[in-house]
Amino acid sequence: MAEPELSVINRAKRGDSKAFSMIVDTYETTVFNVAYRIVGDRDDAADIAQSVFVKVYDNLHAFDPAYKLFSWLYRITLNEALNFNRKQQRTVPLKADLAAASSGPEEDYRQVEMSEHLQRALLKMSLDHRIVIVLKHLLQLSYREISDLLDLPEKTVKSRLYSARQVLRKQLMKQGYA
């Protein structure tokens, strides 16, 4: 957003749909990716992303600008993804939808293939591990930001992240990747 985020939020709070569209434009891909990496299915992730933005829209009036928008938005995304997982009690899909994600050229396909390796590895991890990995390496949040988001002490975030990385390494090695 070229315009300061707070200004966009305030306009969106006042019902400016253009401003809300800017929020969607800014965070749509990230929200979708977080959801996708947690639930493992593109269609479900799209549903979750939609639900997240509907909640953001519905609750924007209650948003406290003392907090960062991304922090609030990511928390809603996590909640939605976790609620979805709980409802579905889903079994882990072993194959990501490769075809749907590929855009054609061989290099792209290779990227998608790597993405699939990653997705498989993530889905084999516990939810706790998966979440810290996604927050750290997909969103590139700091320990402090993860700590705030998950309401965990930083020390716990670190140790969870360390063990999550070990698990990720093992899973990727099993797939012959790492």
Partner: protein
């Protein structure tokens, strides 16, 4: 061969760019003299690098339009039309369609009263982590308060909970919490004989993302992140909807004071009950 925790910590610290120069040297020296650890470290780096190499997955085409269409319709109609929310206060239109600068107002609904409760010093403590299992319901009775601690797993299982009653010299109250599609709905009934002040502190403070309630004369409700305060006296009955309720919420601490004196505080915070 087991790699000492100290070096595992340094490896992870380096991946996160959190090592001092001295720690970098210490790790380098260790890796230079330990082929197994060096290989492990490289594998760890490679596993993490995959994130930066693959970048984000493209969102499905049309998702943006779908979202914008949804907030234009579902955002207004879903709460009232969703049977799962039967009995919950309507969220109402998200933004007034005719007033760009008007903030959203809380609506009053005759017949239902707010209620937050006051008194309720319900002792309901949602302690627990996402995956932990507390199937028990603990009771506490300190003479002023009779309440029930409710485990979060009961909520998360989507079951309706028994009424939790509280009585004391200040009056009495009842609370019924239910989890509805990721939101926490708390139905409250209160009969306060004296002026009471109820403070609900959520742990974590960001346990919910939105708050909806209805007010009536005699009771005032205010909120700030992680906290809801209800003040007033008399009878009331109503509902509070905490939207986007965090499944990792650990606790709701209730502090009730009557005539300026705390009548419930430690009891609520005391997980063991009595």
């Amino acid at each position: 061969m087991k790699i000492p925790d100290r070096y595992l910590e340094l490896m992870n610290g380096r991946i996160d760019g959190a090592l001092s120069a001295g720690e970098q040297d210490e790790l380098d020296r260790y890796l230079a003299g330990n082929a197994h650890a060096d290989r492990y470290y490289r594998e760890l780096c490679r596993a993490v690098e995959i994130f930066t190499r693959i970048g984000p997955v493209a969102a499905p085409p049309g998702l943006r339009d779908r979202i914008l269409a949804a907030v234009g319709t579902a955002g207004r109609e879903t709460p009232a039309g969703d049977p799962a929310r039967e009995g919950a206060p309507s969220l109402g239109p998200s933004l007034p369609p005719d007033a760009e600068s008007a903030p959203r107002r809380r609506r009053w609904r005759p017949g239902h009263v707010l209620a937050l409760a006051a008194g309720l010093a319900l002792g309901f403590v949602l302690h627990a982590w996402l995956s932990s299992r507390f199937a028990d319901v603990q009771r506490v009775d300190d003479g002023l308060l009779r309440g029930t601690y409710v485990s979060p797993d009961l909520l998360h299982d989507g079951r309706d909970l028994a009424v939790h009653s509280l009585t004391g010299s200040w009056g009495s109250g009842e609370m019924r919490p239910r989890l509805l599609d990721g939101d926490l709905l708390v139905e409250l009934q209160l009969n306060a004989e004296r002026g009471i002040r109820l403070v609900l502190d959520f742990d974590p403070p960001t346990a919910w993302t939105g708050l909806h309630f209805e007010e009536r004369d005699g009771y005032r409700i205010s909120s700030e992140p992680g906290r809801v305060v209800v003040e007033g006296d008399g009878q009331c009955r109503g509902e509070i909807l905490f939207t986007g309720f965090h499944p990792g919420a650990r606790a709701i601490r209730l502090r009730l004071s009557a005539d300026g004196r705390d009548v419930v505080d430690e009891a609520i915070a005391h997980e063991g009950g009595a």
